[in-house]
């Protein structure tokens, strides 16, 4: 106390040994806390480095086939893309993906993006441009690229048809069937197929569906519809290239076989992988390439 009086000003009190020890402990704890919290947060790097975070991403994701860093950086992890998707294809990653937490991805086999929103709603919803606005139409998308991974399992390759529910009665996935309902997607299980040679991957391909629509409209006698279509074609709404076609193959055994051939126009949306009635899918979407990087 005598000390204090001699100094005269309150703020220049020397610390008592007890206070000194306390502040030393506080400093040490704070250092441990810093190392701990920063250490835990940096563990988010591990799954990224291991490549475990590579996924099919929503249309327009700022990524190259093998680098998602820009997408991770620009995404604010809010999930607005999840909320606008009519088929609920988009999910958010969990903590085991490290830095990928809260970032949208698509599990195509469970529910692919079938572009049934027409306007790329997820792109429009994205507040940060992580799903880039440079995209106007489904055909501009570069999500991945489809590949017939198991040709022997493919029903068309075996010359077989398909009858029934594509993915069984319990499958929850949705697709929009324009001939059933132009506006609302319905469960795939409520839309059984009966085809002589299985062509589900081609039949349901959103790019192929649009090409057919454009061709039908262009061939139509209705002058008004023709004009409307031309206007859309200028804006590239009509996909310029085919995405998948079914072509005959002859293995010399007399069986009529067909093979799905993935074409340059494939955007990698994953509908073919989703609808493939074989378990597990004969056709899958590869993430390591897209229509622009083919051959590269």
């Amino acid at each position: 106390m005598s000390d204090r009086k001699s100094v005269g000003k309150r703020q220049k009190q020397p610390l008592t040994p007890k206070r000194k020890a306390q502040s030393r402990r506080e400093f040490l704890r704070a250092s441990a806390l810093t190392v701990g919290v920063v250490g835990v947060s940096l563990m988010g790097f591990i799954p990224v480095m291991q490549g475990k975070t590579l996924h099919l991403r929503p249309p327009g994701a700022l990524k190259t086939p093998d680098d998602e860093q820009e997408f991770f950086a620009s995404c604010i992890k809010c999930g607005q893309c999840v909320q606008v998707c009519p088929v609920e294809a988009i999910k958010l990653a969990d903590l085991h993906e490290g830095f990928g937490i809260g970032i949208p991805y698509i599990d195509a086999r469970e529910q692919a993006c079938d572009f049934s929103c027409d306007g790329l709603q997820c792109v429009l919803a994205c507040p940060t441009g992580a799903l880039t606005h440079e995209l106007d139409y489904p055909a501009d998308t570069r999500m991945g690229f489809a590949r017939l991974a198991r040709p022997k399992a493919c029903l068309a390759m075996q010359g077989k048809g398909f009858k029934g529910q594509a993915r069984g009665a319990d499958y929850k996935g949705l697709l929009r069937y324009e001939e059933v309902d132009r506006w609302t997607p319905i469960p795939v299980s409520e839309h059984p197929y009966d085809v002589e040679i299985c062509d589900l991957c081609v039949r349901q391909c959103p790019i192929e569906i649009r090409i057919t629509q454009c061709e039908t409209a262009a061939a139509s006698d209705d002058r008004q519809q023709q004009v409307a279509r031309v206007a859309q074609q200028v804006g590239n709404e009509c996909p310029p290239k085919h995405a998948i076609t079914l072509e005959p193959v002859d293995l010399g055994d007399g069986i009529e076989r067909m093979k799905p051939i993935v074409q340059d126009g494939c955007v990698g949306c994953g509908v073919c992988e989703m609808i493939c009635p074989v378990e597990s899918a004969a056709i899958v979407v590869d993430l390591d390439k897209n229509a622009d990087t083919l051959g590269g």
């Binding site: 000003k9 309150r10 703020q11 502040s23 506080e26 400093f27 704890r29 704070a30 250092s31 806390l33 810093t34 919290v37 920063v38 835990v40 947060s41 940096l42 988010g44 790097f45 990224v48 860093q69 820009e70 991770f72 950086a73 620009s74 995404c75 604010i76 992890k77 809010c78 999930g79 607005q80 999840v82 909320q83 606008v84 999910k91 958010l92 969990d94 903590l95 085991h96 490290g98 830095f99 937490i101 809260g102 919803a125 507040p127 940060t128 441009g129 606005h133």
Partner: protein, 324 residues
């Protein structure tokens, strides 16, 4: 200016020096001098008792209701697809208007090194909103982690009273260190590192999009707060608090302290999340009869609820003057 300086000093973990005798206004000096030995412990207890019967927990009730309603609005909006408040707390669209959490947006801007117009619009909107509403008001009135942490705090205090646990304090400067580290990490790694462990984002997404294993991390934080250190995340780590604290520098919504009737018994500091902001309620701590609690205050109103003499009240600067 003094308010901003005092706020910044506290936000970054330093202590505001107690005013010297010359810095005290004559009016407040008179109040302090007049108070010596005036009230006995029994008197304080009597006022406290009477107060508890009337106003206890008024603001806490309102705050909890607000916090729950805001978070439920996000949930209901998605669940019933009514598009009122789309998104989550990190980024949202309220009836179509962009809102971006300032700290998340900052992380994105530093990691991505570009910023699109929509994000700027969202940031400006949110900045203006919290500037009007008090800055760290976000923490106590909206952040879902704050509510869980508040419940954990009751458990901690109960266990501490039974001498089962002990509160371990940290140097408050560590929060500024975290702020700088997480900003640098976003800039240097190109990843929004803090978002990976932010309980605010994790909880908001868990509420809206369904729970996940990330909740284990939130649970761990709560356990640390119950058994080791009271309110550790909000007090010593969370950069969101610092960001909104800086917004609050310019906010008219504050808690005002009036020294006249104050007993300096310290009930307010005992309930406060950030007790350093209430150092001015210590005898000799306020420079003037009326002084505003600085911007690190979350405007939660716990002190307003608990103060037996109504020496701490909410005020809206400018508006209160107009009302007089």
């Amino acid at each position: 200016m003094r308010y901003i300086k005092r706020s910044l000093v506290q936000l970054f973990g330093y202590k505001v020096p107690r005013p010297t005798k010359d810095q005290l206004s004559p009016a407040v000096r008179e109040i302090y001098e007049g108070k010596v030995g005036k009230l006995s412990k029994a008197d304080v207890e009597a006022v406290r008792h009477e107060h508890r019967g009337t106003f206890f927990n008024k603001w806490q009730k309102r705050r909890w209701a607000t916090l729950i309603i805001v978070n439920l609005l996000f949930v209901a909006s998605f669940y019933f697809d009514v598009q009122l408040v789309e998104g989550s707390l990190t980024g949202a669209r309220v009836i179509g208007f962009h809102f971006a959490d300032l700290n998340s947006a900052l992380q994105v801007a530093l990691a991505y090194k570009h910023i699109v117009l929509n994000l700027v619009i969202g940031m400006v909107t949110v900045f203006l909103m919290w500037m009007l509403l008090g800055g760290r008001t976000f923490c106590s009135w909206v952040c879902p982690y704050h509510l869980l942490s508040e419940w954990a705090e009751y458990l901690h205090l109960w266990l501490a009273k039974k001498k089962i646990v002990k509160n371990h304090t940290f140097s408050r400067k560590v929060r500024s260190v975290f702020y700088i580290i997480f900003a640098l990490l976003a800039l240097l790694t190109g990843y929004t590192v803090f978002e990976t462990i932010s309980p605010t984002g994790i909880l908001s997404r868990a509420l809206i999009y369904g729970p996940g294993i990330a909740l284990v991390w939130v649970g761990l934080l709560l356990l640390i707060e119950v058994f080791y250190s009271r309110r550790a995340w909000c007090r010593y780590v969370c950069p969101i608090g610092v960001t909104y604290g800086m917004v609050g520098l310019f906010s008219p919504v504050r808690v005002k302290y009036n020294a006249e009737a104050c007993h300096h018994e310290g009930d307010c500091r005992k309930v406060c999340l950030v007790p350093h902001v209430l150092d001015l309620t210590i005898r000799g701590g306020a420079e003037d009869v009326n002084q505003d609690v600085a911007a690190d205050c979350t405007r939660c109103g716990m002190c307003v609820d608990v103060c037996p003499t109504d020496s701490l009240t909410y005020e809206v600067k400018g508006l209160s003057k107009m009302l007089k």
